[in-house]
Amino acid sequence: MAVRQIRRSSIWTNVLITFVMVLTFLNLVVVSGILVGLIQGAVDAVRTHYISDVIISTPTSKNYIENSPAVIEILKKDSRIDSFSARYLKAGTVEANYKAQVKTTDKTDMASASFAGIDPIAEDKVADISRFIVEGSFLTPLDYDQVVVGSYLLKRYMPVDSPGFSTLSSDVRPGTKIRINVGGVQREVTVKGIIKSKLDEINMRVFMVDSQFRNLVGRTDYNVNEISIKLKPGNDPVRVRDDLLVQGVGQVAKVQTFTDAEPKFIKDMIQTFAILGDIFSSIGLVVAAITIFIVIFINAITRRKFIGILKGIGISGEAIEVSYVMQSFFYAITGSIIGLLLVYAVLQPFIAAHPIDFPFSDGILVAPISSTLFRIALLIISTVIAGYVPARMIVRKNTLDSILGRN
């Protein structure tokens, strides 16, 4: 009977109810998926464009990774490693428009920055950061006295005016001369490019070629500050980390997988957004349940006479209730199937290819199949209950009153 009722009821009614169920499904899966994906996008960006799979960094008690060349030799021999980028890091300042300074006591246009000496080719292979150049071009190994400046160091990209955070207010563009001050050494360099990503670590740095950085700060021992390691596909970062520790790298540096290095607050944020998503989903679930309740209630109440007749001719109340529950089940299943197709065949691949441009991350849609199946089960259960309750209310009414339309 449920099948006949669905087949022979208005197609627009069926389309509308199914549409509501699809929207509910999307609300359940996509809202929380986007919320989690918002953070996951940021996390993935940190992994892809900065930390990579394994990172070797300077112990807190040291200024750099001692005996870095030996560590690098170990990395070169490991066949599981696709590429790595060794970075020299040091804090300093950048100055712009310093030639306009009239008196030595005048304050110049200055900003604090983190300087990174890199092998441009290796860095780009590991972290693919050249894609974030928004003005000018990225470094090449032969560049001399040229730097790439992070966008957060420029006021036109970072229009904040805070005592604790300074930016260059002058019009710094590719070709502009700026002055850098690192480790007590001052040098005039030319801006080759400006880099802008959604990672603070990139936006607040000034990049220069590693050989020049070594000369600048006198790091003649080739000891670097961090090494990001990209593994070949299929290799387990945990095993690589453990093997590096066994080989003694842990004695001179901190060796972490991406997950180890992920800050706790990021993990907390993912959990927070997941909870928020669940709250929104719960509201969606209640809305869906109410919708189905109303639909089935109106359906049942307008068919009260026929329900009475069915009972009158001996059809049990349970059988009638089951037919309404089956209708609800049908709408929930149909909505879920269409929703599944939309999520996994359309939305997820599309958003993966065209991430949502949030201010601090490229948001993706995170929808693990196990959690989606759980949400489908929730949707079906709530829909079935929402269909059963009104059917039961009408079926319980006195048979003769239903047949005769008496209250």
């Binding site: 009977m1 006949r4 009722q5 087949r7 022979r8 009821s9 006479k305 026929f306 007749i309 069915l310 009972k311 009158g312 001719i313 001996g314 059809i315 049990s316 109340g317 059988a319 048979t399 003769l400 047949i403």
Partner: protein
């Protein structure tokens, strides 16, 4: 056989009691065809609703084929109606989403009759009422007379012990009414027990007996 003993039915509006049936004693033998007649509000439909177990009497007994229905639970009554009784309502009472054939087959399937057998019995039943060419039409595609015949087919498909008909011709034109009454006559001739409520004298006279009711009491039983 169906027998009522001191059957009473009252309706209450607040504390005000309206007695519609005031102690009806009636016996209908197996194979009999009786017509319950009376003026509007006399209690004839109410009597039929009690006898057909669609309603609960306020007092009294109804015994059908030796079963004291007063002792039956609601579930047992539902099952009893499904298996032993047949109903024809004034407004046909067909399920609008089901075709004529599906309307007839539904109670059979609910009784647990095998699907192919249920369709076979339904086909036979619809043939008996002359609707073999309308098997797959929805009620909305049938005329009033055809709908009532489909309703009769549904009521008799499972060969009920008693067939109840509540004003079966009230909504029909003369030609359709005669066709319906002809079916009842044929069913009675084949041994079917029929209890029919009608206010139309000519159709009442087609029954074996007329039970006349007024003010909730039997005022006379006439043999035709």
């Amino acid at each position: 056989m169906i027998e009522t003993k001191k059957l009473q039915r009252s309706f209450f509006t607040g504390n005000i009691e309206t007695k519609v049936l005031k102690g009806i004693d009636l016996k209908v033998e197996t194979g009999e065809f009786i017509a319950i007649m009376g003026r509007s509000g006399a209690g004839k439909s109410t009597l039929m609703y009690q006898m057909s177990l669609l309603d609960e009497p306020t007092a009294g007994e109804i015994i059908i084929d030796g079963n004291d229905t007063h002792k039956m639970t609601a579930e047992e009554k539902t099952k009893f109606r499904l298996e032993k009784l047949g109903y024809v309502f004034q407004d046909y009472a067909l399920i609008p989403e089901l075709t004529a054939l599906e309307n007839v087959v539904l109670p059979l399937l609910m009784q647990g009759v095998e699907k192919s057998k249920a369709y076979e019995l339904s086909f036979e039943s619809l043939s008996k009422v002359g609707l073999v060419n309308h098997l797959h039409q929805l009620p909305s595609q049938l005329s009033g007379g055809e709908q009532q015949r489909a309703s009769i087919a549904r009521a008799i498909a499972h060969q009920p012990n008693i067939l109840f008909a509540d004003e079966p011709t009230a909504n029909l034109d003369n030609e359709s009414s005669r066709a319906v009454m002809k079916i009842f006559t044929e069913l009675h001739a084949a041994g079917q027990t029929i209890i029919m409520v009608t206010h139309e004298e000519p159709y009442g006279k087609m029954a074996q007996k007329i039970v006349r009711i007024d003010d909730g009491q039997i005022i006379g039983i006439e043999k035709n």
